[in-house]
């Protein structure tokens, strides 16, 4: 299956919290696995469950609220700060999200997300508030994200903003290309570079 990703139209899960760190996204005790699969079940583990028990969902946590669902997670500023664990991006993607929207992302998380075809969409603080307001008013609010056009739109109101992504990375997302493929093709150049430095 191609990993390529372009247009995502979906309802959203609003997580109106700042500084969501990767320890919250996936606590360290779940990092003992040696594969990339299955982290979604422990996404936001300690915010989601009482007493570390999946049989006791916390009613006030958004992932446990049946009103909200969708492929787009919307969070307040500085999302993904802290530990470099890529398991955080794996967990979000594995849970079923394709897009995370915030007013800004921690650098390492952003790279990890892109490497997993989880699109980090950076919007202005104003636009972020517009999304939260729209979703609060109507939980069925849909967003339309286009990687190709670099736009994010609130379907009901038509309000729209464009987001940044460099040309190279956009090409990767649209075509399902990994950075490693690019780098592997450069091994001769890398070897020549090494010779210039010794």
């Amino acid at each position: 299956m191609s990993k390529a990703i372009n247009h995502i139209n979906s309802t959203v899960v609003p997580l109106n919290l700042e500084n969501v760190d990767t320890d919250q996204i996936i606590p360290a005790r779940f990092l003992k696995a040696t594969s990339r699969e299955g982290f979604g079940e422990n996404l936001f583990r300690d915010w989601r469950f009482e007493n570390n028990d999946p049989a006791q969902p916390k009613k006030d946590f958004v992932l446990n609220n049946p009103i909200y669902a969708g492929k787009i997670l919307v969070a307040a500023k500085n999302f993904g700060c802290g530990s470099s664990r890529e398991h955080a991006a794996w967990a979000i993607k594995d849970y079923g999200f394709d897009v995370v929207v915030s007013s800004f992302f921690a650098d390492i998380f952003k790279n990890n997300a892109l490497n997993n075809f989880l699109v980090p969409v950076t919007v202005s603080e104003d636009f972020l508030q517009k999304i939260f307001t729209a979703v609060e008013k109507d939980p069925k609010t849909e967003l339309a994200v286009s990687v190709e056009d670099q736009t994010i739109r609130i379907l009901a109101t038509g309000e729209q903003e464009s987001f940044d992504i460099n040309h190279y990375k956009k090409d990767c997302l649209l075509n399902g290309f990994d950075d490693i493929d690019y780098l592997l093709n450069m091994r001769d150049e890398i070897t020549s570079y090494e010779k210039t430095r010794s």
């Binding site: 109106n16 919290l17 700042e18 500084n19 760190d21 320890d23 919250q24 606590p27 360290a28 005790r29 990092l31 003992k32 696995a33 040696t34 594969s35 990339r36 300690d46 570390n52 307040a76 500023k77 500085n78 700060c81 802290g82 530990s83 470099s84 664990r85 890529e86 398991h87 991006a89 800004f104 921690a106 650098d107 390492i108 790279n111 990890n112 490497n115 997993n116 460099n166 040309h167 190279y168 990375k169 990994d178 950075d179 490693i180 690019y182 780098l183 592997l184 450069m186 091994r187 150049e189 890398i190 570079y193 090494e194 430095r197």
Partner: protein, 466 residues
Amino acid sequence: MSKKTLFDKIWDTHVVKQIQDGPSVLYIDRHFIHEVTSPQAFKGLENRGLPVFRPGQVVATADHNVPTLHQELPIKEELSRLQVQTLKDNCAKFGIELYGLGHQYQGIVHVIGPELGVTQPGCTYVCGDSHTSTHGAFGSIAFGIGTSEVEMVLATQCLLQSKPKLMRISVDGQLGKGVTSKDIVLYILSQISASGATGYAVEFAGSAIRALSMEARMTICNMSIEMGARCGMIAPDETTFSYVKGRKFAPQGDDWDKKLAAWKQLFSDDDAVFDKEYNFKAEDIEPMITYGTNPGMGIGVTGHVPQLSEIDPRDKAAFEKSIHYMGLQAGENILGHPVDYVFIGSCTNSRIEDLRQVAAFVKGKQKAPSVTCWVVPGSKQVEAQAREEGIDKILEAAGFQLRQPGCSACLGMNEDKIPAGKYCISTSNRNFEGRQGPNARTMLASPLMAAAAAVTGKVCDVRELV
């Protein structure tokens, strides 16, 4: 003319290729790996049938997921044992030097790199760990990466990276008694916030930084990631050169002279321009402690938890959630708050100078009966040095437990967890919810502040005790 920053000088010599309207292909001199963020990367290589491109430039250790008691015995927990074994198997298979459990050089990856002389000025370092920024203290570019990127570096010794913006944070003046480099970095964090340097590479400068030892500088660069910085760095000087000289992997003889001459060129030119600059005065810095759930939520120890009226209305919900988690009230004084655990360790503060400071303070004193005190050295070499200097005896006499090297209670991945609801003064780097164990309450501070809390059983102003 040149007008280059320290960052520019190192970055420019490591760019193999600049992709148009895209990132740079950046060459990585040394790659540190550990058991937690590498298995999936090795699996990726296997799936592609690839070797490790430059195995001699990779250094491995087991630190995150190892017990800190009875390291000579098989690891009890099955998943942890399997993960540590997987690292061992992968290193053997791909020809990578491993300083694993039982090895005289084993330890926290950001402690062993510098102490072995692997970390040197002017180089690029990565590791699947955000605190890789530590190595920037030597005047290098060092940053944490995810596992997909670990795979890329294993496969090609390169990464695709966009050049960050540049920030300089200067701290001038003289630190007061009982104030250390940990206080400097917690103070900066409290001023610029946990996201104040996101998107930037930060150079720390100024007379207060210059006056610090290498180990103290590492503490500051280590926590640059807590400001969101891509990396933190300090221009190398005589302090740096004399630290590196003579270490196991340091250059020798003519090579040393050649390297040293090059290292002496590593500084930001006088007219170099930064995208952002901050200036702080060392005299304004008190011993610091955090009250909240991100490292930017710190105050001077004589201060109080902010009043609601002092909080930006937009941040109110996050602030209230945070102090509720911590069991604190807005406006509350932090001095005198009871403490249950003291953790002295982590890649931030587990080096020999940290242990010496703690030992010098607690010598002849006793920990408070209600406090559990763990001291976890950063490496086998730190542990051996501590024993040689009699630090182990001093700590044991004071009721502290000296454990074996690893990341331990910094992230509670092994069994070293702080119980729910308990307060821990920790010399580590993160006070996130649940970081030290589900519902554990972390207060970040310097080793001296932690030692003082251990002895008195509460948050106290170490300046009154030294």
